[in-house]
Amino acid sequence: MIRTIRDQACIVGVGHTEYSSDSGRSEMKLACEAIRAAMDDAGLGPEDIDGIAKYTMDNNDPVLIAKNLRLPRLNFAAEVSYGGGGGPVGTVLLAAMAVATGQAQAVAAFRAMNERSGRGTPRYGQGSTEPGAGGVQSYHAPYGLFSPAQMVALAAHRHMHLYGTESIHFGEIAVACRHHANHNPDATMYGCPMSLDDHQSSRMISTPLHLFDCCLESDGGAAVIVTTPERARDLRQRPVTIAAGGMGIGAWNDRSVLKNVDAPETESTVIARHVFEDAGIGHDDIDVLFLYDHFTPLVLMALEEYGFCRRGEGKDFVTGGRLQWPDGELPLNTSGGNLSEGYLHGMQNNIEAVRQLRGQSRCQVEGAEYAFVASGNAVPTTAMILRRDG
């Protein structure tokens, strides 16, 4: 019995727009530009794409995307729960399941938004100005708890208390991503180097989170194309195979992003239970790492919860440049990530993972064969292992 998604789907095309603070065009235009760029990269035309996988939070209707891109028929359209932060790998896995089960031949997974300019999408870091707050927010907004940064700050302090983690350890993650962005002319923070001192002296947002612990806000679009291994062999680029993947959801957090640091099982540990075994590899086989970097403390916790180190040992793991290309043994988010490349809800990390495994990165890890890619920690999440073929 086939138990996993292993080896049943490949990423064959990647594409993105520029990442900016004001794109000057509609979110639909960004989506179509990104998907078309990914189709061109793969060597696929409109008649080849018959599925679309989107983030729940994305405003672009698949029907209108199909119309604008002249896709003659769609056999599949779906959106991933909690995307948002669960979306980057979640959309790819939806696409993989669709092609693996024959529901579609080739699926575009995308994210496009004007989140920084606010033209179409609200800035996620700002509180609602409605006079009343309902649902889960009724317990939080009256106290001024609005933004993901504030929620992550609570988790960060708890982690610091339990394990002795310090702000400087979060800084190591920010510095690694910024270092990589400075090799990537497409990155928002290209040409803006950052030291640990710069991180420590950046202004406080919500203690212990400094400005540079927080991801960017961006306008832009990013997309990947997923198809079957058989189809992938005949296309323009070297295929990148989905070696394993999974979704992890738990009842342990009261609210998405408001993390219970004390919980023994988290959304990420749920995935870690099977994803390496499914791929037939160990943690040591991972050559390059992509962890959704909304906020640095959650990257550190993801390292722990996916088992790259033990719970509480993230502070030691990140110290000493381990996450920095070219000398670190496990380079992280080698195009700069949400923190320093652009904030497309992590879709750019999928693109860079594919480039690494094709040998096309600007921070190329020599001989990279396996990449681990995770969506956001502290939300119902998704993760996958990608493998270079050939």
């Binding site: 100005t129 006079p131 309902g134 907004a141 106290y143 001024g144 700050a153 919500s206």
Partner: protein, 139 residues
């Protein structure tokens, strides 16, 4: 649109109407399972620890300890501009390990806050008239 001068008031969820009314009386209750005697927060339909759907509003002492906190220094809401820095805390209530609630810490300097700090509830009135439970140090 006028910019709000205060944080939003709570719009009670179906399961929480009793809670907010009790706060207005100066009480601080939570749902307690009549079968396994454990409390749950936030309010909900079922006991998450056993199969019971029989939850009973039960007053708490209002005493607890700080399990984590943050001092908000960057305003992300119009009403926050005049409020920063303000303190959001998660308080673990003495009735049950892991029973934690989000609130504000008041009557304390940020430098004095530690995890484990003993605190107790008091009520702050929102301009809507709703009383909100907040926590101050237990001296």
């Amino acid at each position: 649109m006028n910019k709000p001068t205060e944080f939003p008031y709570p719009i009670p969820e179906f399961a929480a109407e009793y809670y907010w009314e009790a706060c207005n009386r100066g009480e601080f209750p939570m749902q307690r399972c009549t079968a396994c005697a454990r409390y749950r927060w936030m309010p909900g339909a079922l006991c998450p620890y056993c199969d019971s759907a029989d939850l009973e509003w039960t007053p708490l002492s209002g005493r607890g300890t700080v399990s984590t906190w943050t001092v908000v220094t960057h305003a992300v809401h119009p009403a926050a501009v005049a409020r920063v820095p303000y303190i959001i805390a998660e308080v673990e209530l003495e009735e049950q390990p892991g029973l934690r609630v989000i609130s504000n810490l008041v009557k304390i300097d940020p430098e004095e806050i530690t995890i484990g700090l003993p605190v107790e509830v008091e009520f702050r009135e929102h301009s809507s008239g709703q009383k909100l439970p907040v926590f101050k140090p237990r001296r």
